[in-house]
Symmetry: C2
Subunit: 326 residues, 2 copies
């Protein structure tokens, strides 16, 4: 993490405090699980959500919270993210996360269920510590609900060849963009920014989250597994059709049917054939175009922010994050 | 549910409002899951936690919340309970809950993970609606954490023949008693009772919760599966050693070792032999004695409450609940 943020003066230090606070908060008497949580917390994660929080916090003149509480609020965002990661890994049956063995493959799905739940309580506790009685408690509760409804949306679409790009956008809006949006507007709000900037921050976070999810989907096809640290392609066999596939599927559903109809019985060859077909039908290009459209929306919204060093940081960070697919 | 509470005038109506509110709150667009949640909410559950809330609420003169908010607070307790039930069923691989097919066996573990998570957000939302800014927000967060640490305690003890009755008590204090304690003191607090009664309510709830869990464990051995609506005995094969077994195991560990050492490879005959051995070593009597001790603690604490019709209701309810094992 440290290396990633070293060029953003001041930010690195704040994110370091966030990491230390989270480490303290996941202190439970189950040594193994505690260790796994500490590793998950410190390994490879870029702390993007707290980073967006702090970048937008800069746009206010008078923070509504003292420095400690700001750290605590930023930590709550990362902990909510960690909770969903731990539960996601159960769903995906992932052996690895951030290059580390996942909680579910190390301790079993059972432990992973309660460990994720425990992280939700830590999230809840951090909110109560940082912003008791604030209207942002409700904003957080609603964002958390959106994230989970997004996950359920995605899951109820498993193996559904009739799902559309529109369905995808709705699920992504929940499962990924809602948290970036929350981080951004919460940062602006507690930094003491005015209403218009808070609104803008929410939009920027949302667009970045959407583009981020789309690029993640693109990377499934373009990166080596070693670089991505997660099993690629197996999603298709599990009935999770990501953006490039959905773009191609929507264009030519008949071509995919013989393979996708096999559902969990698809062989590796079937999956490879689906990928080839997806490329042939221009799925990657269409998905990339969509990702670019959302990146462009984010950039345009960033340009509307008042001049501030944090604006340039945000601009560069967004470009860098969303360039991953090229 | 209705029949169970019909002799407690006024309570039945309040619990009905709780049920209706929860039904409204679990409204999500995934028709199947929504239906399953509605059924889980209305099927067979006794609403014990909201009931304790309302019974202790009677001990105050001036409620700290209006009637609607009291219903909302009581609903939060049941929703927290439902969330843990949905996740418990994943862990236990239970096909049935309250005589209904569980969410995990109907929709898969994956859906059950997020459905439970969603219930946590509903819990969170209900708290924010009923008691924003109240110190009981923190009490709730801590209770939720205790429940999950209790579950993790139980899970880290799987197949552990060295675990003691003391370990069992600690896990039960978290996973079951913490929520009864919360319901009782929260009821007393929001009813406007004085400090001493709130403290007493917490103790009563805790003792009842402990006894309740112990009796649940006893019922695993004494009731017919059809009456209990859940698979009996399979816990042993899964490494979950409940109170009667732990009592006997602590007394004569050597006798059990040949069977328990087989862990997940135990046959049905092995399990039957373990049960016979448990009975022979007086596991049931010891467990019953412990349950009676906690029941007695609950009853003694109830006797210290000021005179009030709700005191008699509490007394009868406690006796009735904790008599299930005889």
């Amino acid at each position: 993490m440290a290396a990633y943020w070293s060029r953003y003066e001041g930010l690195e230090e704040k994110l370091d405090s966030v990491r230390t606070l989270i480490e303290k908060k996941v202190h439970i008497r189950h040594t193994g699980i505690k260790q796994a949580l500490v590793e998950l917390n410190s390994a490879g994660g870029k702390y993007l959500r707290p980073a967006f929080f702090f970048l937008f916090e800069e746009f206010g003149d008078t923070p509504r919270l003292d420095e400690d509480k700001l750290i605590t609020a930023a930590a709550s965002l990362e902990v909510l993210h960690l909770a969903t990661l731990v539960h996601d890994d159960i769903i995906d049956d992932s052996p690895l996360r951030r290059g580390q063995v996942t909680i579910q493959s190390r301790f079993g799905k059972d432990v992973a269920v309660y460990t994720g739940d425990l992280l939700f309580t830590v999230f809840f506790g951090l909110l109560l510590e940082s912003m008791p009685g604030s209207p942002y408690m409700n904003v957080n509760a609603k964002a958390m609900k959106k994230i989970l409804v997004g996950e359920l949306d995605q899951m109820s679409a498993y193996y559904n060849q009739a799902q559309t790009v529109h369905d995808y956008l709705r699920a992504a809006a929940g499962k990924t963009a809602a948290l970036f949006k929350l981080a951004s507007r919460e940062g602006a709000y507690f930094g003491g920014a005015d209403q218009e900037i808070i609104r803008l921050a929410g939009h920027i976070g949302f667009y970045i989250g959407m583009a981020f999810q789309m690029i993640d989907d693109l990377l499934d096809y373009t990166e080596e597994q070693s670089a991505l640290n997660k099993p690629v392609l197996e999603d298709i066999g599990q009935g999770i059709y990501n953006l490039p596939l959905l773009c191609a599927l929507q264009k030519n559903p008949t071509a995919f049917r013989p393979y996708l109809d096999k559902r969990e019985d698809m062989t590796e060859e079937d999956v490879q054939a689906v990928v080839a077909l997806m490329k042939q039908e221009g799925g990657l290009e269409q998905a990339r175009k969509l990702a670019e459209r959302f990146t462009q929306k984010a950039v345009s919204a960033i340009e509307q922010l008042p001049n501030h060093p944090a604006k340039d940081l945000l601009y560069n960070l967004t470009k860098q994050l969303l360039k991953r697919s090229s």
